[in-house]
Amino acid sequence: MKTMTMSKQYPGDKNPLIEASHSLSWVVGLMASLLLSSASLHAKELNPDISVVLDGLYVQESMALGHGGPGFVPGHNELSLGAPIDDLFIGRLTTVFDSHDGETELALEEAFLRTTGLGYGLKVKAGRFLSNIGYLNSRHTHDDSFSTRPAVYRALLGSHYYDDGVQLGVTLPTDFYWQVSAEALQGDQVSDTDDGVGLYTLSTKVGGDLSISQSWQAGLSYMKNRSPAVEEEEGEGHDHDHDHDHAGHSHGLNYYGGNMSVFDLVWKWAPRGNNRQQQIELSAEYFYVDDLNEYADDDDFHEGWYASAVWQFAPQWSAGVRYGEVDLRQPHGDHFHSQSLQETDIMVSYSHSHFSTIRLQYTHQSGDGFDDINNGIFVQYVMSLGEHGAHEF
């Protein structure tokens, strides 16, 4: 009965999907008027920060839990607007353009307001936003070091989980960094509650410096799905190609669970803290999901982890390696089928400036229960125009 559908690749997609032609012209019109107004006002402070991220990929082989291909694939192309609303609120709207079967789709990925300086280290976010669960999830994919999210993220969080809801966070007045946040999320696509709120999350992060050159952060998160969305049988079997006409980017995989726990750890090193010249970044996350449905017993759970090492060896160059595994139990009526995937990624990237990155990645997959377990090369560009987000840890 319990479901925890981190099932859809982009759980929030169904509602905001607007027909391409209509929405595109709307966005283009909005952009044009914003640009015009900024040109005439000559006062940047009065205008929203506009940022555009161009992201494109060449994918040699389509892969298990993959994002399409083979061939040229549009990545996470986004248009984002943000600005202070007044001295208490900040707002942001992020739309993502994606293409499926030759049609361009527009998805609303973020539409939130956030408080500034409430006092006592408190902040409130409301609207649609990326959930704070895990380490990578709340970050935008174009900040990642690899072209793909780890397999465990693709399976359990649809690469990045966002939803409508409210988030309360507090940064505690301790000498070390300690942040706690709680979220109530709609979970429309994953939960069938009558009163609407389907998911709750609770997460905490602590961190600090070990020396002038080393910093760390550790996090623990928990997500609860209150009530089940009954899985539709159309995804039955191991059919996870991209042909079926889901709204959004569903890749047809549904992995459910009532409780999700995540542990994450990050360690970074830069000589005397000079991360412009050189930096080593080690990160790892572990996921455990149980309470899969009413037929599940103690042996039925999803589990996965990854560990990655990225070395920025010159101001413009990075190289990295990542290994990850995910073991899944796919429900089939009153029993489960096991699926497992092991993935090794090797990448090298060149950033001409802080705003342009070109990346080459090789991914090796092995496992059971998936159709297109493959090895292949990714070539990716990520270009950022306009306002650029800050260097988050």
Binding site: L118, Y177, A390
Partner: protein
């Protein structure tokens, strides 16, 4: 019993907070100014001389320090645009936010060189407000200090700044003395030509009448490339330069490459304060930079050679 402990704990907390004026300094130079006015302040310095202040990560320790501070003193002019907004957001400190007393931008109190009406990224990392490395401008620093003196009473407990005005006077006298000393170094510096990497020393070079004839960066903020270094090597202006000046946070290899081929010395000069005795206050740092540069002026060497005989 437990409630009594709680009351004591709360009292201790509030006392601790009152007795302790906490300052977050984005760069060491601003910590130096705050320390001159409020010697007892508990200051966290976010960056050091071996770090490029444009590229700092909003790491957990900095968020915690920002969370607990009463005042943040930063350069502004987009120098910290890549990391300060993230720190402010994640710290969620109601005292420190844009347009609140707890956030002090030094750039608001002085006039910046080279502001741009139009900036786009093909120009490199150009700040529309102007060159933000004005902490090495001997004329700008006292203006920033005046700004701090006006701001501190709004954010610091009264007992912390009882003697602030007297300390400010003392600081101003010392700064004037230092300026007089720097003036005596001018004859050794004026007309000197140097190769730089980034505009970090721009204000001080102008002040001393030194001309930066070439820059190892192809565009502001971009690291040197082989093709650009070759262009610099073949530039006729290189013949006039007497030294290549770089910062400790920069990779010395491009400068060394050029130095070998052009027969020029490389001088590594801190752009901000260090823990070393010669460069641990702003006046000392400026003195150190000017004296180090004067050692490389061919004119000055000629003079001292004559004097030596």
């Amino acid at each position: 019993m437990s409630s009594r402990i709680l009351v004591i704990a709360l009292l201790a907390c509030s006392f601790g907070a009152r007795a302790d004026f906490r300052v977050f300094a984005c760069e060491p130079e601003w910590a130096d100014l705050v320390r001159a006015l409020v010697p007892e302040a508990n200051i966290t310095v976010a960056t050091n001389a071996w770090q490029d202040p444009h590229y700092i990560e909003a790491r957990p320790s900095l968020i915690a320090a920002m969370r607990n501070s009463d005042l943040a003193v930063c350069t502004g002019a987009s120098l910290e645009a890549g990391w300060l907004p993230a720190l402010i957001q994640r710290a969620a400190n109601s005292r420190i936010a844009e347009n609140r007393e707890g956030l002090f931008y030094a750039a608001s109190y002085t006039h910046l060189h080279q502001p741009h009406d139009h900036v786009d990224r093909s120009m490199g990392d150009v700040h529309p407000e102007g060159n933000p490395h004005f902490h090495l401008n001997p004329h700008a620093v006292p203006e920033v200090m005046d700004g701090l003196v006006k701001r501190l009473p709004q954010v610091a407990p009264a007992e912390e700044i009882k003697v602030m005005r007297a300390l400010h006077l003392r600081w101003k006298m010392r700064w004037e003395q230092s300026q007089e000393h720097w003036e005596t170094l001018m004859p050794d510096l004026r007309g000197m030509k140097v190769v730089v990497q980034h505009s970090s020393f721009d204000y001080l070079l102008r002040y001393a009448g030194i001309e930066a004839v070439l820059d190892l960066e192809p565009k502001p903020g971009l690291p040197p490339t082989p093709s650009h270094l070759n262009r610099v090597l073949n530039d006729p202006r290189l013949a006039d330069a007497s030294v290549i000046v770089i910062s400790p946070y920069q990779d010395p290899k491009p400068a060394q490459w050029l130095a070998e081929r052009a027969g020029l010395p490389v001088l590594v000069l801190p752009t901000t304060l260090t823990e070393e005795e010669e460069t641990d206050t702003l006046p000392e740092l400026i003195t150190y930079i000017l004296t180090s540069l004067s050692n490389f002026n061919p004119k000055q060497n000629a003079v001292s050679a004559v004097n030596g005989h």
